[in-house]
């Protein structure tokens, strides 16, 4: 089974990367971009086909490792 985990900075947290990218896009003349925030995506392959179980596993993975809940939030999505 395939899943996707998105880990992004909490909205109140400074995102230096996003800020730098915004600036770069502006100076490259890409118009109409109001803001950019950068996060991480994990494409995960899981054993088995039980979606609930997979979700529980991924939640565990996020809490333990993938996300730093001090500053980040995460979202789990199932692809296809």
């Amino acid at each position: 089974m395939k899943a996707r985990v998105l880990v992004t900075l909490k909205s109140a947290v400074l995102d230096p990367q996003g800020k730098a990218i915004e600036g770069a896009l502006r100076s490259l003349g890409v118009p109409g971009i109001a803001s950019v925030r950068q996060g991480k995506v994990f494409d995960v392959e899981l054993d088995g086909t039980d979606k609930d179980k997979a979700e529980a596993t991924l939640k565990d993975a996020c809490e333990k490792l993938l996300a730093n809940t001090v500053i980040e939030t995460y979202r789990i999505e199932f692809v296809g």
Binding site: P16, L28, Q38
Partner: protein, 232 residues
Amino acid sequence: MKAAVILFPGSNREGDVAHAIRQITGVEPAVVWHADTELPAGTDLVVLPGGFSYGDYLRCGAIAARAAIMDAVRAHAARGGLVLGVCNGFQILCESGLLPGVLVRNARLRFICREALLKVERNDTPFTSRYARGAVVRFPVAHGEGNYAADADTLKRLEGEGRVVFRYVMPDGRRDDTQVLNGAANSIAGIVSEKLNVLGLMPHPENQVDPLLGSTDGRALFESMVDALERV
């Protein structure tokens, strides 16, 4: 030798390379701001120094590679002018298309600062003529993303054309692709452009020009460039 060191926001080894150039040539290099569009008239050598241009955000060297001055650097390279990119400079050269491939995170995912042993694969380039072919030299590395990667065709082409100039080797001088400190493909530490006038390398020759700081293995690289320019 008239050298120009390009200063990007976040560059931080520009002083080190300027120091090396001054020590070896006696001439202070010009410092050129990233937002400028022209190199000083008569520039022989352009240096893209080490550092964390734009914080290394997004990808190392990605934002700097698109800076205004880079068109002038490309034109200089196209004219056959010398371009030296060290560490972040190498990353910028790859991102700007002046050299093939890309530098990704070290295989062990950690920043690494230590002395590396390098084999000089050829000494018929403007950067290595003062070294003996096959010599093993010691330059420090200081990077988190020095793991050279390219697709199989590109690697084959680079090897076929003999464009790998510096390669990481073991203390006994042997190459061992499974033990490379940063995981680089084919133990690649530095490559040149087709016309041999653009060199990108991860290790820092500029930090090794002063006996007080360990060794002077880096001097010959700068001296080679001086020779090359005198020959012109």
